[in-house]
């Protein structure tokens, strides 16, 4: 970073706006800011620090704000209303980019008469990167303002701050410069991790201990016998389960026996039930007996009449049939006579029509005649039309002819004229006129000719031709006319003969049409009538025929039936007599064959069942006898036996229930024990697993803790890793500083201190002075001047390191405020020579800006580039020497 310019207004002794232009001072050359004591030199550094780092309100108001302005502000705030009362503006170039920081102290526009200072002041900052406004300065340096003033800008009386700073402070500065923060962060990270692991371990420990408590094992979790104990527990439980299982086995056997007995009893009871059942049924059957007997009789009777019944029925049928047929014959006969009457009527009508036939024939002829007229009329009409046309044509032609004749006249006249003129021309005096022969020609014909005579002659010829044509045409037309007239004449005569009025052809046509239509209709009607009538007659004849046929058939049938009946009756009566049955009985006893079959079935069923029940009863009794040695005499015995058995069974059931209960109990116990075993097995598994984890974590913890101890200062040399790294850098700073110091005062050598004393204090980062003549000296024992140049050497050493691209800082400027006054001349020269070496140092970095602030006379004489601060009446002004 290179400073370009600093603009001050209202800042300390820079009451008026003052610009300090650093660009007037060449880079790579030491420059001096000089002026009387109190002229405002150090204020420049204050302003730079303020611009870069801002400052607190108190400092700004009470130290930085020009005193006189502050006084005025208190007395008359209104005069500053809305104005900027203090402004500091720093322009600098950082990483090849121009920046500007502007910090202002403004007075707001206020209304109150006597406002509070707090209310009316406001601080404004603007930071510009090029022309853009940005939020914060571009420093990627992490030096705080305090650290800044210990290393980069070394203000008055503070040059030995770094030299005398405590280890912590030095560490902090070096940490920021050399970016070693990561080691600190890493150590903290490790610490957190260890803490987390510890938590994990504690959790696991609790877990393991809980398992032990649950299982009432009073040992420490690391005891190796724990697993065996758990295993032993499991075994015990398993033994117990075994015992229970044996017991269950026994009970089961007992149960089986009882169940067997139970079953037997049940079987017997079943049999007994069956027996009872059967006996009951038998009783039921007995009740039915009478009914069955009845049925048997019915069957017998039915069989008796079975054969004759059909015949009986047959006879009845024939009789009825005969009756029906007779009836039918009657009615048909009636119908026949009707038809015959109708037929007669129709025939009469037919005859009438026959009579009219002739009239109709006449009408037909008439029709024919009239029909011939129609076409003739049409022809007439058309011919008439043609005649008219021809007439028209004729007229036209005649007109044309007329016209042409006129034209012809004209032409002739024209020709005459021509001839006249021709001749007139030809006329010579005293020569005879070829026409009239006169020799005098007083008025020769002079007329203008429109056209040449040839043309006119042509015209005349044309017209002549045309006239000829037309006349021909006319003749033709005449011929036609005549022809047509002849044609039409015949028709005319015809019509006249028929007394038609020729004048009104249309009417004739209409009348004819009417007549034709009516004739046609009449003829048609007649023919239709005739046809229909014939149809009717035919159908009646047909009907007559049919009915007659049927009547005949019926008669035949009746005869046949009567014959049959006679025979059947004979048979019937025979049978009746033979079997001693009466007719009435036949009706009474008849049953259809299916019915009979059904009744028979019923009887059969009854018999079968009876037999079955008897056999069942027998079987039952046999079984009871054989299997259960039970004889019965009567129903009562069976009942009581059954009761007894049932009672026995109840007891057995109870017994079985008890056994079941016991068995369940035992099973339950087994279940519980199994559960316990499961739980313990789980515990064992869990314990084993967690134990492994615990061991793993524990190892990890131990390892990490060891590492942490090593990295923090709990190690043999009591130096943390971070401090170790810092120490390396620190020693490098010392080394560089010593290079500087050698040129100034070879007697003194800076030493980084030895390892820490034992105890809790952190090691390192102490500076001791080795006086090669005397020995080690404390830094505090140096004189003022010695302190100054030793501190300077340190500062330059630090500055050197920064510029070996060793760190990521980018500060190319260094300011040293005073301290030179405490040096003697020779030392001063050496100090200046060593400061100058900054510029000779070949380290690759580009521009350097190094300024010293001093009032020392020889420096004024020696250093050619100067910013001179003049202070007149308390107000600082700037001038330059370069």
């Amino acid at each position: 970073m290179i400073l370009k310019s600093l603009t001050l207004e209202g800042f300390k002794s820079y009451k008026n706006k003052t610009v300090i232009d650093f660009t007037k001072m060449p880079l790579n050359h030491l420059f001096l800011i000089q002026g009387k004591t109190g002229s405002g030199k150090s204020s420049i550094l204050d302003a730079i620090i303020y611009a870069l780092y801002d400052s607190d309100k108190n400092t700004l108001l009470n130290y930085y704000l020009t005193n006189s302005l502050k006084e005025n502000l208190y007395q008359d705030p209104h005069s500053y209303k809305g104005k900027t009362i203090m402004q500091v503006e720093l322009e600098f170039n950082y990483k090849e980019q121009d920046y500007k920081i502007v910090r202002k102290l403004n007075i707001k526009n206020f209304r109150k008469e006597h406002p509070n200072l707090e209310e009316i002041i406001e601080f404004k900052h603007n930071i510009y990167k090029g022309n853009k406004m940005i939020d914060s300065p571009p420093m990627d340096i992490h030096l705080s303002p305090e650290q800044f003033t210990k290393s980069i800008i070394i203000p008055q009386n503070q040059f030995d701050k770094f030299l005398k700073a405590d280890a912590k402070d030095k560490e902090s500065i070096l940490k920021n410069i050399f970016n070693t923060e990561k080691y600190e962060l890493f150590t903290n990270f490790l610490k957190d991790k260890i803490f987390n692991i510890k938590n994990q371990i504690d959790k696991l420990k609790d877990h393991l201990e809980n398992i032990l408590i649950k299982n009432q094992i009073e040992k420490s979790i690391e005891d190796p016998s724990i697993k065996d104990i758990l295993k032993q527990k499991i075994e015990n439980y398993q033994k117990k389960i075994h015992e229970y299982e044996n017991e269950i086995q026994k009970k089961e056997t007992q149960k089986k026996e009882s169940e067997k007995l139970l079953q037997q009893n049940l079987n017997q009871i079943l049999l007994l039930n069956d027996l009872i059942e059967n006996l009951k049924r038998k009783n039921e059957l007995q009740k039915k007996e009478a009914m069955i007997k009845n049925l048997e009789e019915k069957i017998r009777n039915a069989n008796k009449v079975m054969d004759i019944y059909p015949i009986y029925k047959n006879i009845q049928e024939i009789e009825s049939q005969i009756k029906n047929n007779s009836k039918q014959e009657e009615s048909l006969k009636k119908e026949l006579s009707n038809i015959q009457n109708l037929l007669q009527q129709k025939k009469e009508i037919q005859q009438q029509l026959e009579n009219q036939k002739e009239i109709i024939e006449n009408k037909k002829t008439r029709l024919k005649e009239i029909e011939k007229i129609q076409p003739k009329l049409n022809i007439f009409k058309s011919i008439q039309k043609e005649i008219d046309q021809i007439q028209q044509e004729k007229n036209k032609i005649e007109e044309q002819l007329k016209k042409l004749k006129i034209q012809y006249e004209n032409i002739n006249q024209q020709l005459e004229t021509i001839y006249k003129s021709y001749f007139a021309k030809q006329l010579k005096e005293n020569e005879p006129c070829p026409i009239c022969g006169s020799k005098e020609h007083p008025h020769p014909f002079r007329e203008k000719l429109d056209e040449e005579p040839d043309i006119i002659l042509n015209k005349k010829k044309q017209i002549e031709n045309q006239i000829k044509l037309l006349e021909n045409k006319l003749q033709e037309a005449e011929k036609q006319h005549h022809k047509k007239e002849i044609e039409i004449q015949s028709i005319k005569t015809f019509l006249q003969e028929n007394q038609y009025d020729l004048k009104d052809i249309e009417k004739i046509q209409k009348d004819i049409k009417k007549e034709i239509d009516s004739l046609i209709k009449e003829i048609r009607d007649y023919e239709n009538q005739t046809k229909n009538l014939q149809k009717e007659i035919n159908s009646f004849i047909k009907q007559e025929g049919e009915i007659t046929g049927i009547i005949q058939q019926l008669e035949n049938q009746i005869q046949l039936d009567q014959k049959n009946l006679k025979e059947k009756n004979k048979l019937f009566l025979e049978f009746l007599e033979k079997n001693q049955i009466t007719k009435e009985e036949i009706e009474k006893y008849y049953l259809k064959q299916e019915e009979v079959n059904q009744l028979q079935k019923e009887v059969q069923d009854y018999d079968l069942e009876k037999a079955k029940i008897d056999s069942l009863i027998e079987k039952n009794s046999n079984r009871l006898m054989q299997e259960f040695s039970f004889f019965y005499k009567d129903f009562q015995e069976i009942s009581s036996q059954k009761q007894k058995l049932e009672k026995d069974n109840l007891e057995i059931q109870n017994h079985i229930e008890e056994l079941n209960k016991k068995i369940n109990e035992y099973n339950k116990e087994i279940g519980t024990l199994n559960q316990n075993i499961k739980t313990i097995e789980e515990d064992l598994k869990e314990f084993t697993k967690k134990e492994k984890e615990y061991d793993k974590w524990n190892n990890q913890y131990k390892k990490l803790e060891t590492l942490y101890n090593i990295l923090s200062n709990n190690n043999p040399k009591r130096i943390s890793l971070h401090r170790y790294v810092i120490q390396v850098y620190f020693e490098t700073v010392i080394k560089f500083a010593n290079e500087r110091l050698k040129k100034i005062e070879p007697r003194y050598i800076l030493k980084a201190s030895e390892e820490a004393k034992t105890g809790k204090r952190l090691a390192g980062l102490n500076i001791k002075i080795l006086d090669t003549w005397e020995g080690e000296r404390k830094v505090e024992s140096l004189s003022g001047g010695e302190s100054f140049y030793v501190s300077l050497a340190l500062a330059l050493g630090l500055y050197d390191i920064i510029h070996t691209n060793f760190s990521n800082l980018n500060f190319d400027f260094l300011f040293i405020d005073e301290g030179f006054g405490s040096l003697d001349e020779q030392t001063l020269q050496k100090v200046l020579a060593t400061i100058n070496e900054i510029f000779i140092h070949k380290d690759g970095s580009a521009q350097k800006q190094v300024g010293v602030i001093s009032h020392v006379e020889s420096m004024k004489l020696q250093i050619p580039y100067q910013i001179i601060i003049n202070n007149t009446n308390g107000v600082s002004e700037v001038s330059y020497k370069y």
């Binding site: 390892k703 060891t706 090593i710 190690n715 130096i719 390396v728 390892e755 090669t772 005397e774 020995g775």
Partner: protein
């Protein structure tokens, strides 16, 4: 034509900034006075660095004043030419130079009108060109020539403006550092002023017959005609072997005689172990030397000996400086086992390994593995692997 050539008096200098040499210098000046009286010289040349510092001490002024008083006036036929050097306060040296006597020229400002100072003798004309010392920036601003960037540019510029008459003998007098194929020998006390004196190649002065220079404290000669008279006293440790004196140049005989000046109090540089130094004292030095002479002592010891000065002061009364041959003993006082270059090149794991070495090994106990295992219960490799894992994890959390 005989020229008395001297330079680099550094009047007012304190040896090691502490020891006052006024008396010694006075004595040396007296010796020079004597030589002047005895040798018949035409020109006295003092080529710069008359004073030690721009804040001239009273004593220094007094010395010079007395010297000039007793020489310039008593030798009116000798021309005294005095130039300023890089140590001199140019303006102060120049004080009242125009009012002074005819045969005293104190030149600290370049004035072409006054150049050359011509002396004719025996039919020959000798042109003296005294060029005072300018710093680069001074020259730039004084002559408003901003093309000048180095000392040699100054001389090139100046010589351009001089019109040297080849028929005359041309003598250049100036105060500067010659570069003669890097063979020039330097001393510590030449450049300890603000603003460096750049090297000027000797070829620039090829036009002159004789070049009388000041600035180098060891008297030396370059080419045929370029002479440094050297300082009159051993002003720094590096000069302890030099012979100190003045030169008398005889342009006729072409002889350039070096006359040694023996100071009252000499400067010695002794080396050796503490024992040797103590034991060899009386072999090497006479008693009075031990009393009055100045000693630079270089101890060849492995370890630092505290309060060694007190010890040695018992024998050597005037010790200027005690240094140690092996400067390394001052460094690495802690047993940190890496330097800043290495630390930049190591990655975290290697750094950790170094750290472990630092913690668990020392000169007696070199076995890292053993020591680590004994102290921590873990193997080194184990720790390093774990460390690496942790760093990877840590780096991930940082992104």
């Amino acid at each position: 034509m005989r020229i008395f050539h001297t330079a680099d008096w550094h009047l007012g200098k304190k040896l090691n900034e502490s020891i006052n040499l006024t008396d010694v210098q006075e004595d040396l000046l007296n010796q020079m006075k004597q030589i002047l009286r005895e040798e018949n010289v035409d020109v006295f040349v003092l080529a710069g660095d008359v004073y030690q510092s721009i804040q001239v001490s009273d004593d220094a002024v007094r010395l010079l004043n007395n010297f000039l008083k007793e020489t310039v006036t008593t030798l009116p036929n000798t021309l005294f030419i005095i130039l300023n050097g890089n140590h001199d306060p140019a303006e102060k040296l120049n004080f009242a130079s125009d009012l002074l006597r005819e045969n005293l020229k104190i030149i600290s400002k370049l004035n072409y009108k006054l150049l050359p100072i011509s002396i004719s003798k025996n039919g020959k004309i000798y042109d003296f060109y005294p060029i005072p010392f300018y710093r680069v920036n001074e020259y730039r601003f004084t002559f408003e020539n901003f093309t000048i960037n180095e000392t040699k540019d100054i001389y090139k510029d100046i010589l351009k403006n001089l019109h040297i008459n080849k028929n005359h003998k041309n003598i250049l007098i100036t105060h500067t550092a010659i570069d003669f194929m890097n063979k020039q020998e330097r001393a510590d006390s030449e450049d300890d002023t603000y603003g460096n004196v750049g090297l000027v190649p000797s070829s620039i002065f090829s036009d002159f017959d004789l070049v009388l220079l000041g600035h180098f404290h060891k008297h030396q000669k370059f080419e045929k005609h370029i002479y440094y008279s050297g300082s009159i006293y051993k002003y720094s440790a590096s000069e302890h072997n030099n012979k100190k004196g003045v030169i008398i140049h005889d342009l006729n005989t072409q002889k350039n005689e070096f006359i040694e000046l023996i100071p009252e109090r000499n400067v010695h540089y002794i080396q050796g172990t503490f024992e040797e130094i103590i034991n060899n004292i009386y072999k090497n030095f006479k008693k009075h030397q031990l009393e009055t002479d100045f000693f630079y002592i270089e101890l060849n010891e492995k370890n630092f000996i505290p309060y060694v000065k007190d010890e040695l002061s018992r024998y050597y009364k005037n010790i200027i400086n005690i240094s140690y041959k092996n400067e390394e003993i001052f460094f690495n006082t802690t047993s940190i086992n890496i330097n800043h270059k290495e630390i930049n090149q190591l990655n975290e794991i290697e750094l950790f390994k170094k750290f472990l070495e630092f913690l668990y090994t020392d000169e007696e106990n070199q076995d890292l593995e053993d020591n680590v295992f004994n102290e921590t219960g873990f193997k080194t490799k184990d720790l390093i692997d774990t460390y690496k894992e942790l760093w990877d994890e840590f780096k991930n959390t940082q992104t």
